[in-house]
């Protein structure tokens, strides 16, 4: 976002053609933030404790993935609390979290950090806030559909769906491993399902009427 250039500067710039500097504002003003975002996330992630984060950075230090993240877990918490909603929901961080819970068990404030990440993932998926064909949300959705319909997951079929929906070329790269697994009897294409899948679907559909998450 650009700041308005004062008239004096504009006049100076007109006299001597280059160099005209554009000032880029990197930080949002408070009026542009969604100030209640933090509280809503805290409520969804089971604990107002999110708001009492002391920014010690223990989560970022214990996270094995923090150096691949655009914002470390500590920053995500700070930004969530201050209302940087778009930045948080657009970040790669929430997708990189592998749910290993190291941060959660070490947090001196007992913040449910992994549940915060899940809440943010759900919100980002519901609003389409992720790069198209990004494999992690696609994997989550394919898994969800398969288990909803069959009651069980078939690993091989899930991966084939994932590759077809993201990058089919990856399948060629993985075919070799697949062949080795198959030779060792560790790959089965048989569709797994349960007998009570009709009742299971009734249960899952009942949730729709019971508790549907409002958009954050």
């Amino acid at each position: 976002m650009m700041l308005p250039v004062p008239p004096a500067m504009r006049a100076a710039a007109a006299k001597s053609p280059p160099p005209m500097k554009t000032v880029v504002r990197r930080i949002k003003f408070e009026s542009e933030l969604d100030l209640a975002f933090g509280e809503r996330v805290a409520e969804r992630a089971y604990g107002q404790k999110l708001l009492s984060c002391i920014q010690c950075g223990t989560c970022s230090a214990t996270c094995p993935l923090s150096h691949y993240m655009d914002y470390t877990p500590r920053k995500i918490i700070a930004m969530t609390r201050e209302g940087f909603k778009d930045e948080v929901l657009n970040s790669l961080t929430i997708w990189l979290c592998a749910s290993c819970y190291s941060c959660q068990v070490q947090c001196p404030r007992q913040i449910h950090i992994t549940d915060v990440m899940y809440a943010l993932k759900r919100e980002a998926i519901a609003r389409g806030f992720y790069p198209a064909h990004h494999p992690i949300p696609v994997l989550a959705r394919s898994f969800y559909e398969r288990v909803f319909a069959q009651g069980r997951n078939t690993e091989s079929r899930l991966l084939i769906t994932l590759y077809l929906r993201t990058n089919p070329l990856v399948m060629l790269r993985e075919a070799f491993l697949g062949f080795h697994l198959w030779r060792k009897g560790r790959l089965s294409l048989k569709k797994e399902s349960i007998a009570g899948r009709k009742d299971l679907r009734k249960m899952l559909n009942a949730v729709e009427h019971g508790k549907k998450e409002e958009p954050l």
Binding site: L65, A98, R141, R186, S188, K202, V207, G210
Partner: protein, 301 residues
């Protein structure tokens, strides 16, 4: 006490060696198992990324099935979940159902729609916990017929077996498996990566990040002179074993470590034939590091 065995989806495909060896060891130790009737997928970490209440409902269906299977001795039913993710998700669901009235109300209503009721009696257990704490390490030690001398084991627990809802060991530096392998005659290596995440499904989605996590684990185990890594989770085993060659090629490493399930290792010490333990399903069967040299482990089994 009969344990209600919950295989989960992985033990029927990539983790088949885990299932076969677990069942063989339970037969040997005479631990009765009964497969949970018409169990469904636990939901893993993916389901909760889409819909949380549905994820809880999915896992609670399994708990509700177990709730209505009373034990002959009158004790509470216990689910045996060998996969770390299944174990954590089922334990987490139990925890939330017991501690959060709102979750319980929504999930109970959903279960009713399918004709099921949740009572909350069922406990969720991991085989590592059951073997060491229920059966007892001394009793296992007495049954060892082939002490596994010469093995330097890096016990890799993975993340979700000790975090955050399990109570049987320390969440960062557990010792249960280390004590077990020591009782089997092997040596456990002291290493700091026991519970550091292997990346889970990241090796299939963001491979660069997933491979680097596994590389760190494999390098550290090699540096500490381990000659085998043991795991208690099908996904950890898959990641550490199947991507080793690709990690070597990509990062110019020379890692060459067998990665087996702790149940396979137990079975070998208990004198179960290697075939029953599905040793042949591993890409790299553990070699006996005994003076005999390149002799394969199933030679003495």
């Amino acid at each position: 006490m009969t344990y209600l065995y919950f295989p989960g989806c992985s033990l029927r495909s990539t983790g088949r060696a885990y299932e076969e060896s677990l069942l063989a060891v339970c037969r040997k130790l005479e631990i009765p198992l009964h497969e949970l009737d018409d169990w469904n997928c636990c939901g893993a970490t993916a389901y909760v990324s889409i819909d949380e209440t549905r994820a809880f409902t999915l896992a609670a269906r399994n708990l509700a099935i177990a709730d209505h299977l009373p034990q002959p001795d009158g004790s509470d039913p216990q689910i045996l979940a060998p996969c770390n993710a299944c174990y954590m998700v089922l334990a987490k669901t139990h925890h939330f159902m017991e501690s959060n009235a709102e979750v319980r109300a929504h999930v109970s209503t959903a279960l009713h729609a399918g004709g099921m009721t949740y009572t909350g009696q069922t406990r969720v257990r991991h085989p590592l916990d059951v073997f060491v704490n229920d059966f007892g390490i001394d009793r296992i030690a007495k049954k060892v017929v082939h002490p596994l001398k010469g093995f330097r084991v890096a016990c890799y627990y993975g993340c979700q077996v000790v975090r955050p809802f399990s109570e049987f060991d320390h969440p960062v530096y557990p010792m249960t498996m280390d004590r077990l392998v020591t009782a089997l005659g092997a040596e456990s290596v002291d290493w700091p990566m026991k519970t550091r995440c292997c990346g889970g499904s990241l090796t299939g989605t963001i491979q660069e990040a997933g491979f680097r996590l596994n590389r760190a684990l494999l390098k550290e185990a090699t540096k500490r002179k381990a000659n085998i890594i043991l795991t208690c989770c099908p996904l950890c085993q898959h990641n550490l074993e199947c991507y080793q060659q690709r990690i070597n090629r990509r990062y110019g490493e020379t890692i060459n470590l067998p990665v087996a399930y702790f149940t396979q290792f137990m079975g070998l010490a208990l004198g179960i034939p290697a075939k029953e333990l599905a040793i042949q399903r591993l890409f790299k069967p553990p070699l006996s590091p005994a003076p005999a040299g390149k002799q394969e482990i199933h030679a003495h089994a």
